[in-house]
Point group: C2
Chain length 454, copies 2
């Protein structure tokens, strides 16, 4: 822990002391990676030069594209993949040679991959990790955990952003996922174009803008001594501390009365009202009419009741000014994992590949380009052997998808910030053929062509 | 961080220093909780005595029961809900009075709730948090994050354990969820009756048994200098380090040849073979026949290809000795969140309740019992005001579901260990009417009756 953060003393419960993944990612690992390591150190294969590749065989739920997310977090996790002595002591199933290897472990290989915020399709070579078998194999789990979780959220969130058609979306799903997954989900949603998060750790850690005003509990708290509700008292108090630009939650009791109470207390310059229940199609039109009748023409309407990309699209013709999205974005809207795998594809220069039914793959270290028409519209992805020249495809311009991320264990200079990756994705989405932005199920909108493999 | 764990130096990347949720859960919080706090401190409602309740309105995917999980983690999180100065500095949207409150914050209220490992149904009062509005309201997000994530995994995992009908299930889904969610998912799956996990941090943190031997990469690594596969070399090396009792993965190339290679190298006393692809119904019978023909009558068959509770049930008549389950368990098998909410139900002795359409609830602090026939079979849940006497229901025995967990901020003595909660759930499942263990969609198998409310 950095010295600037005081520790909280010994009263916080024994279990926190046993969380070893706080400043080391080394145990965020499947046991079989270390048993393989032990065998490899014993039989001499540990030092073979290998390439592992992250890719997905399909897009979940017949979506048209996926969004790469988590790449920057992967690079941090690789750098933090170092073993404490206390962690090594817990690995009693390993022999001394293997424990010594882990004690001195530090990844010294190369990583290339798609940029964070890049679009991807089945069999896109998303991350290419090169080094000895020993140093690469043990990174599998933490790399996949991060990329599968972050890409699942970003891929769902990007569809919501498209459906919202320029109207802002706030991320507010922390309560519907693991407490740490909530923080990284907020980051992935922001990458995909959400404008803010409710999660304060994400605000702190990643600098994402925060939003939030009040819950139903706030209104329910304001009752007379005999239990009679007093919604106006709740609204008045909130305005007193947060100002007239705040958002009042108007559906705790009767929504029409809620709107009248809000404008009576705040006046017509109230920032916004929020609706969190009921038939939003009907309610938003009704509330807009009421606000206009009360002269509150600039008071915005925020909605937030179990929204997903389809519900957002369904409200396209309604007077909604902003969306709050929770459960569906943090759970990937029906696809909570991106289904990416980390596969050995090359050993000492030889391509290798599993031949199991339904799990075919192409061996060899790869690079990829995406071709574009002169209009800027993307045409296809071309995947080719890493050491080959970039292929020329007729009159199409082609664009390098594979970029260097780490060299001999050190981060490449000038890696993008979260803000830059967010802008990058927004630009990439514009290059998709228009049908790629449809919410309906279909084939991937771009195909991936392999060139130059046997 | 405890002194026994050396820090890893300053070379681990700037971002890790910005992770403030490592020994404090205070920022795992939605911003609106702190803006409500600020308003409550300003208008004097902060000190009102309140009750918040965790419950769910429905069971996801029309399941028959849910499993409460995460309770012990919630109690730890409440104790670790303390603010660092660096965290407070990030909360620039708050006034000094609110920051002072947070600086000195320590939960001093009472918590009651269902035991971890208890079964639950819609509207079961799962957790009851009592104290001032100020001290209770800000715990909402972290409590729900933990209970929603852990209960989602445990509820799915319990169905898989039932479907496996006594055969062991290994948890191996770390790569398909956020890297920290993977650790707590392993815990929840173990609670629900899985026998082990692949996740080494879960082994370390929670003492869960670990399992793992080798991946396809291990077989692919063993190629001749010209790239020719050498599966036998991979098997021989693994047996050399892990012993004859190990599990060999036989489906990298041709599965029949893989089985023959495995027994040729290991002899008929090989511990197990694992199949990770293909039609498991056909393959397991074929592999069993092959093993028996080779005299390997005691060699077990482990399967692990995209299994969920339905696939497990479908293999009930097949020669499978153990299951490895990944994606489906860590993502809650179609229900990645339990959908629990944290609602204000009482203010200064008065019941309060939201009246929004589709989100009705019953106000007031509650307790619950479950009634049982003399045979031990559960009949229904009865929810009643906290201060009422336990109702007597005919000849049925009734069992207290609500137990004290925290008093004046201190943990109640004798809270169960993870092992005890695991045994508790196993016993509770036996009390369900038999149709409650069916995988098919239907109503909750027990109903929840409210008694004594207005």
């Amino acid at each position: 822990m950095p010295n600037s953060l005081p520790t909280l003393g010994s009263g916080l419960g024994l279990h926190l002391e046993l969380v070893t993944s706080l400043d080391s990612t080394a145990l965020l690992t499947d046991m079989y990676e270390l048993t393989m390591l032990q065998s490899a150190l014993a039989d001499g294969t540990a030092s073979k030069q290998c390439t592992f590749e992250v890719f997905s065989r399909r897009l979940p739920n017949e979506r048209r594209y996926g969004v790469v997310a988590g790449t920057a977090r992967v690079l941090e996790a690789v750098k933090a993949f170092r073993f404490h002595e206390a962690q090594l002591e817990s690995l009693s199933f390993l022999d001394d040679r293997t424990l010594d290897f882990l004690r001195n472990y530090e990844f010294k290989g190369d990583i290339d991959g798609y940029r964070e915020g890049e679009l991807y399709f089945p069999h896109s070579p998303l991350l290419t990790v090169r080094g000895t078998f020993a140093e690469c194999v043990i990174l599998e789990t933490v790399i996949l955990s991060i990329m599968n979780a972050d890409s699942a959220v970003a891929s769902a969130a990007a569809r919501m952003v498209t459906a919202a058609d320029g109207r802002p979306i706030f991320e507010m799903g922390s309560r519907r996922t693991n407490e740490q997954a909530a923080v990284t989900a907020a980051r992935a949603a922001y990458l995909a174009g959400f404008v803010s998060t409710s999660n304060l750790e994400a605000v702190y850690r990643y600098g994402i803008p925060g939003t939030g005003t009040a819950a139903h509990a706030w209104t329910l708290l304001h009752v007379e001594d005999d239990g009679t509700p007093n919604e106006k008292a709740a609204f008045a108090s909130q305005i007193n501390t947060l100002g007239i630009g705040t958002t009042l939650l108007v559906d705790t009791y009767d929504i029409s009365q809620g709107v009248r109470n809000a404008i009576e207390v705040a006046g017509p310059e109230l920032g916004a009202v929020r609706i969190d229940s009921g038939d939003l199609g009907v309610m938003t039109s009704k509330v807009r009419q009421e606000l206009d009748d009360l002269g509150a023409h600039n008071t915005r309407i925020v909605v937030s009741s179990d929204l997903d990309e389809y519900a957002i699209a369904g409200l396209r013709g309604n007077p909604v000014d902003a969306f709050g999205v929770g459960t569906s974005v943090v759970t990937g809207s029906g696809a909570p994992t991106a289904g990416m795998v980390y596969k050995l594809v090359e050993v000492e220069g030889n391509p290798v590949a599993k031949r199991s039914r339904g799990k075919n793959m192409t061996g060899g270290t790869k690079r990829a380009v995406r071709t574009h028409r002169a209009t800027g519209t993307a045409v296809e992805e071309i995947v080719f052997p890493y050491e080959h020249e970039t292929p020329k495809i007729g009159q199409l311009t082609s664009y390098e998808l594979t970029v260097p991320l780490m060299r001999e264990g050190a981060l490449v200079q000038g890696l993008p910030t979260l803000e830059q990756s967010r802008e990058y994705l927004a630009k990439q989405l514009v290059t998709l053929p228009w049908e790629g932005l449809a919410l309906s199920k279909d084939e991937p909108v771009l195909s991936t062509r392999f060139m130059g493999f046997e």
